[in-house]
Symmetry: D3
Subunit: 107 residues, 6 copies
């Protein structure tokens, strides 16, 4: 990561600038933009991974981002219901609670 | 689960008949058939949950089933590449190894 | 899940009615009622799975429910102590903190 | 762990003698012997933690050990069926496969 | 754990005295003191395990303890950046958030 | 990832070329080379994350790579012993088994 790379201004820039650059340039700048999978599909897959791994802090952003990428609220709820079987009821229960909050905030 | 329920003949029927019934009647008979999410979407979500959780024994079936449900091999590989970032390189590395084998078997 | 099925009124009914039905009718209505394992044993097993998976949001309910099903507080603490070895000290540490709170609330 | 402690002869003794001592003296010598929870209960809890965490290599021993501690095969199968809901179908599916093998070996 | 063992006064002493004794006498009294691995190395390894497992409640203490054991803040941030690849971006994202708070509290 | 990027020849090149490029160019080409953390420290942290997450397929390579980066076998065994407490005995037990094999192969 050469010094002349323009600094990124993402959410980790303050204390983890290298992670911020990797996030902005590689993850969002490259991977999410690859045409091999649509953004809607990438959001389905990302939310599924977060629900299954109980990543409670990252779910709010990605439940919103999924909606921007064309996943409806009904589809998000159905995804969580489906994952009750593939990741266990507790993972689904926590995801429903987070979705309820995110949806109520109108975002 | 009343005794008069016809016995199911799925993969758990021999030693876990109740789990087999739940699998055939509730999971595959009901949940997978719900129209709120397409089968292709359900497969994306299921494979994502399996990759993220390192469920090595269940991945082969669902990599095949996903193809039956309309997910292409290229999309499955891209899903795994995407999840390298959301579940870690080791989860992606193991999933690539399993996908290589499943694809080579022509299934 | 046919439309004429009476709607359930559990904790997910507001935004995830299908998950609520599955929870009330299949999980609590059927599985928890099966005589093959006592409710006390089911609670031991459920709490163990929650502690081991760090399911922090679902532990409070099941620590209370376990007591209703005949598991004593001393047994719950010993279960957590035992699981320090089988799921790691961090899982036990978090479970002790949750148990302390649940017990203090007199529930 | 002073040098004069008599060496243990457990399964890790060859390359991890300190872990072996901790296993034999603390885990099996002390924790499993504490009267606060019966050995049958400890086995239920241990097997539950292994199933939920997909600890495939440690399940065979503990499925056998649970039977020695008074858990029947039917109860073990029911425990796995119950955990399909609390740890996900994939965890239960793998546990059924391991149980089938362990039971078939007559152990 | 014989009755004449002096009671420990650690963080679990109030409701889980046996776990407290094991923590103070075995984990901190013995394992952390073994010369086979330096305390700095043990902290690197412990923080890595906590980040990878998303043990959000135990990370604050160990991010502080790691600094006492000679790991710098820059090294902790780099460890988290490295683990974005080995445990996934969500684990790293949450760890950065906790580190930001711990560092800001001047501890 | 533009087409004119020279193709990499790593272990995923055959069926997942984009993941292979990310692995060779970003993970090994950039992250592992960053001076903010020594390679020995990166190996300690990587092996810890693999042990804690039960990444059984990736452990053999990283137990070897750690030795190339200056971690001794005794230190690897002690790391596993330490992690018995932070990730649970089953994770340590499986890691000991893999280490035994890797060490016996003289690598």
């Amino acid at each position: 990561m050469a010094d002349f790379t323009p600094k990124t201004q993402g959410p980790f820039a303050d204390i983890a600038p290298a992670l911020d650059q990797l996030t902005q340039q590689v993850l969002f700048g490259d991977v999410w933009e690859r045409p091999e999978l649509s953004k809607r599909d990438r959001s389905l897959v990302t939310v599924a991974a977060l629900v299954a791994q109980y990543r409670i802090n990252e779910l709010p952003f990605h439940l919103q981002f999924a909606q921007q990428n064309g996943v409806t609220r009904d589809e998000l709820v159905e995804l969580i219901t489906h994952l009750a079987f593939y990741a266990g009821w507790p993972a689904a229960s926590t995801a429903v609670g987070i979705a309820r909050k995110v949806f109520a905030e109108g975002t």
